[in-house]
Amino acid sequence: MSAEAWQITWFTVGVAALSTLAILPFGVALAWLLARRDWPGKSLVETFVALPLVIPPVATGLILLKLLGRRGPLGAWLESTFGWEIVFTWRGVVVATAVMSFPLLVRTARIAFEGVSPRLEHVARTLGAGPWRVFVTITLPLAARGLLAGAVLAFARALGEFGATIMVAGFIPGQTATLSLSIYHLVQLGRDAEAFSLLGVSVAIAFAAVWLSEWFLRRRPA
């Protein structure tokens, strides 16, 4: 494999891992709120979070581009406050993949939390545990398998993200080129052999991610 192919591979894995880690705390917290609490505006938030699943990824990318561009409301603020340029940088790739995988994480994590019997949480409360201790010692371990599945799904989605990424980050070799973007680009140029080697890498990463999570799940009986 060429140095360029390695760079693309590590960049893609790094970006997918970073975006998964970034959405994990928010996704898990939101999933818990959706599974265990009733609050005003809940169904609105639910719908809003699911939107990236149903809107074409390119359209989501366009919304992000307008929001995060230098003259966009969020982009201008991020640049003046933190000096962060989002659009057409690696940060844009992270944002695009994070937004696209967030609904998958929230849905899976919500189902995981709903699978934990509230009766166990009730009993833990009567044994003197406050809400936080109940969450950490009962809810979280019992939902762990589902949460891990959600994280793997989000990671896989981030690995393969194309539409939103191309809108927000463009295809800049060495800066925003991910596996998916590069495969498309190489095929366009007629460099099929190189595209096939990246295809092999994609399959290998996906295989490793799924296999690792299966192994982890088997190790810990529910």
Partner: protein, 237 residues
């Protein structure tokens, strides 16, 4: 330790739970058909539900009072709760289950130790087992031990023997009696079995569609007499 329920109200679909009672007895049975509101009553006392109106007091502590916005959280009530089928934590060992509430219990009688509780309930051989490998009767004894070790001021038992066959129920009853005699903790015992009431309880409240329809000593309610004061037939809801 007197438990006082003052004009307690909780709407429950088909009817409204409406209770006014003082429970001074050591072991009080809450007797009634399923759907009479027995479990909801326990949840109100444990603080797992809030009533629409009324107050709950244990000795001189106000646990819930809707009028004054008083509500003690369940983890600060020191009220033990053994739900149906025990609800053991499936990811923890028997020992971890038993000790879940032990360390955080604020005031603990000196004789309340893991060794004492496991001896009374005869569960010491099970300590390192996973909960999934326990039989129904073993699960119930562990659930009872777990509640006891949190040093409760009052113990709520929600049909602890339901779901077990008759011979097993008969074998477990003596354990409950031993707990009653070894650890002097007042209990509310929800059941629809007269046998259990006769074997364990000093006082019976009969709950029908959310209201107390009879209250007496077990012998008066359940033993044949020329004129039964309460007939054992399903209440009309």
């Amino acid at each position: 330790m007197t438990l006082t329920l003052t004009q307690l109200r909780l709407p429950l679909g088909a009817f409204t739970l409406e209770l006014d009672a003082t429970l001074p007895g050591r072991v009080t049975a809450i007797f009634g058909a399923s759907g009479a509101g027995k479990t909801s009553l326990l949840e109100l006392i444990a603080g797992l539900r809030r009533p629409a109106a009324g107050a709950i007091r244990l000795a001189d502590t106000t646990l819930t009072d809707v009028a004054t916005f008083t509500f003690v959280r369940p983890e600060h009530r020191a009220i033990g709760y053994v739900p149906q089928e025990g609800a053991l934590f499936p990811h923890l060992s028997v020992r971890q289950n038993l000790l879940y509430g032990f360390a955080s219990a604020r005031t603990r009688p000196a004789d309340l130790t893991l060794a004492h509780v496991t001896a009374v309930l005869e569960i010491d051989p099970l300590l390192e087992r996973a909960t999934a490998t326990l039989s129904g009767g073993e699960k119930q004894r562990v659930a009872l031990g777990r509640a006891l070790l949190a040093a409760p001021r009052l113990l709520l038992l929600d049909e602890p023997l339901a779901g077990l066959d008759a011979p097993l129920r008969a074998r477990l009853l003596p354990y409950l009696a031993r707990v009653r005699d070894e650890f002097v903790i007042p209990m509310l015992y929800v059941t629809h079995s007269p046998d259990e009431v006769m074997a364990l309880c000093d006082d019976v409240l009969v709950l029908t569609a959310g209201r107390i329809t009879a209250r007496d000593r077990p012998a008066e309610l359940f033993q044949p007499s020329p004129q039964p004061r309460y007939e054992l037939r399903p209440p009309s809801v």
